[in-house]
Subunit: 414 residues, 2 copies
Amino acid sequence: MRERVHATYWMETGDDPARTAEVIAGEQSSGTFVALATETPELKQRSGAFVERLEVLETVSGPSLPGARPSDRYTRAILELSWPVENFGPSLPNLWTTIAGNLFELGQVSGLRLTGLSLPPSFTAPFTGPAFGVEGTRALSGVAQGPLIGTIIKPSIGLSAEETAQQVRELVAGDIDFIKDDELQADGARCPFEERVRAVMRVVNEAADRRGRKAMVAFNLTGDLDQMRRRHDLVLREGGTCVMLCLNAIGLVGVQEFRRHSQLPIHAHRAGWGALTRCPALGYDYAPWQQLWRLAGADHLHVNGLRNKFAEADESVIAAARAVLAPIGPDARMGAMPVFSSGQTGLQAAETYAALGCTDLIHTAGGGIFGHPGGVAAGVEAFRAAWTAAAQGVPLREAASGSGALRDALEFWR
Amino acid sequence: MRERVHATYWMETGDDPARTAEVIAGEQSSGTFVALATETPELKQRSGAFVERLEVLETVSGPSLPGARPSDRYTRAILELSWPVENFGPSLPNLWTTIAGNLFELGQVSGLRLTGLSLPPSFTAPFTGPAFGVEGTRALSGVAQGPLIGTIIKPSIGLSAEETAQQVRELVAGDIDFIKDDELQADGARCPFEERVRAVMRVVNEAADRRGRKAMVAFNLTGDLDQMRRRHDLVLREGGTCVMLCLNAIGLVGVQEFRRHSQLPIHAHRAGWGALTRCPALGYDYAPWQQLWRLAGADHLHVNGLRNKFAEADESVIAAARAVLAPIGPDARMGAMPVFSSGQTGLQAAETYAALGCTDLIHTAGGGIFGHPGGVAAGVEAFRAAWTAAAQGVPLREAASGSGALRDALEFWR
């Protein structure tokens, strides 16, 4: 327990950066706004957060965020703090409060963003992390190599269970690897969870008997804890191989608790993530954030996609995917699978592969599959062919000469 | 289930505001980036989100947030959307994903902030809300009128259980109503939860025997679910009357699940809130956000304080406190108690009272109590006297003529 947790921040302050760094370290450990006789040097040395690094980047004339103490210039810096593990112990929620609690609203800063997190073995040791990860997901889906080619049921919400099953029928007939519920589709009155699982799994199981390989369907079982456990048991009983959780809506403790019960891969959706990350001067980078959810048990983590329809830049998408694939610590691999989505087609395969150097991922497309003039099967075939070409370093146009489906796809992918 | 949930947003868009409103409504219900044959007019009418109101505010030349589609002007507007309850049912996490999920990162907006939430009876009916609220808290603490005068154990972290108990001894001797752990103090190796509870409750129970009134101590039991339940049981067994949860670190499902088990008031800490709210163009106002936690069971909710040491403006603090005191719906009062803290003294009593029109709150001070030259008892007495004066409309200087403790306090409160 003598090891330390390190967290890195981007910060902006109108005050002296070194003083601000000490205020943040104090606020998140033994200090407070006023000097206390009981905060002895020994206590501070033992329980205080240390400023490990402070690297000034630049100064600007105005503050990024409102509410900061007025100043005529604001300094931006990289700040690294560390805490003794014994302050919070190996507890995810208490770690969160320490590294990402009451610090964003400090008047001393006009911007603060958590950019990195390094956890020592004494913190990570008690966690089992993802139960399935890459290997388990490949085993259950029967996809030994290449990415899992996937899609999302659309419309997101409004279909009945039978209409959903009908869409799944078309998809599995088209040899898809992975299908997920939309994050909005959980257990609405129009498409109750139980009915949907039974209807969909009937289709998936029948197709698996024919194909010898079962499409993985991530059923969104987000709900309260009892509901999630019951829904998990139903999915398992019906032969399902994956469940989906909306992380931000459930929270760390709910996900951890569900993980203790779960016997299926956890497909982790990050809905709500935009509110945590889109202001560059506030909130979180994905790299530290996703570590907490992998420790809690997430097997698949959404990372958006290259040239996506959202506001996220490609560099951010790739950094997120690399973070998901990287070990959490020297003794804690806990690898999860990044999930690429949003405006994706086979056109992003080569770039995605080049950036990651592996195919341990799930790549989902909607229009990129359904829009194929040859139908869903041709759409899936073309997407897969694009990935085979990417992994072999063959240009798409060239690969298209050997695949009619890919050739046709290149006409409408854009 | 034919009722609708309404949510209000502040938005900024470089596109036509009406078109952007439809994109957001579509993305959060049945629509997607491409038109789908299966999204029939009937389905859209039944399951789609409706744009209920769009009020253009102003236009600006640049975007508030990065990543938005380029434009030469950006329009700001108030947007109100509604959804049929049947889309998600009475489920907090699924409501959250619907009103605050994948919308903040839409490329169509250069700013989006959830500002209001209105929940119909068919949504709120299954929830019991705070088990104690104002009345239960007053009954347990023996404070029939006026605010609960409180404080926070400091240093936040680093004291042993015995040192904590020693501080509590001084506070209860000074007739304090309420004491809380810091949000960083949960179950660290230096001050294990069990040891702390036993040591503190020994002191509190002894004092209660003498005083005939028990100080309420909010023990921070944040941890995984089993830990929280075990810790709750210990607090209850030792005669404790309150527990504290860090909402953002635990999450909605964990808090809901804990509430089902709990027999004590839930003191809800909002550590991490700054990351969700400080960028004016992104995230959440407190009013809609706190509703979810009251439905989950929070009895006390932190609202910062007037002229606080953080970046929050006074109007925001008061709006937050009023929201906590307001009923959630016509059939769902679910009142909770706002908790004022951060740089507070009796000097803020009159203004706080004037803004709220009641004393159903917890007011905590650190230096404002400990700094009193007459000691803790005089500090508590002065703070309470300031509130009595506020409630009676007596100016502080005048009230000080009848209270030596208040007179002395006015020398150092500033």
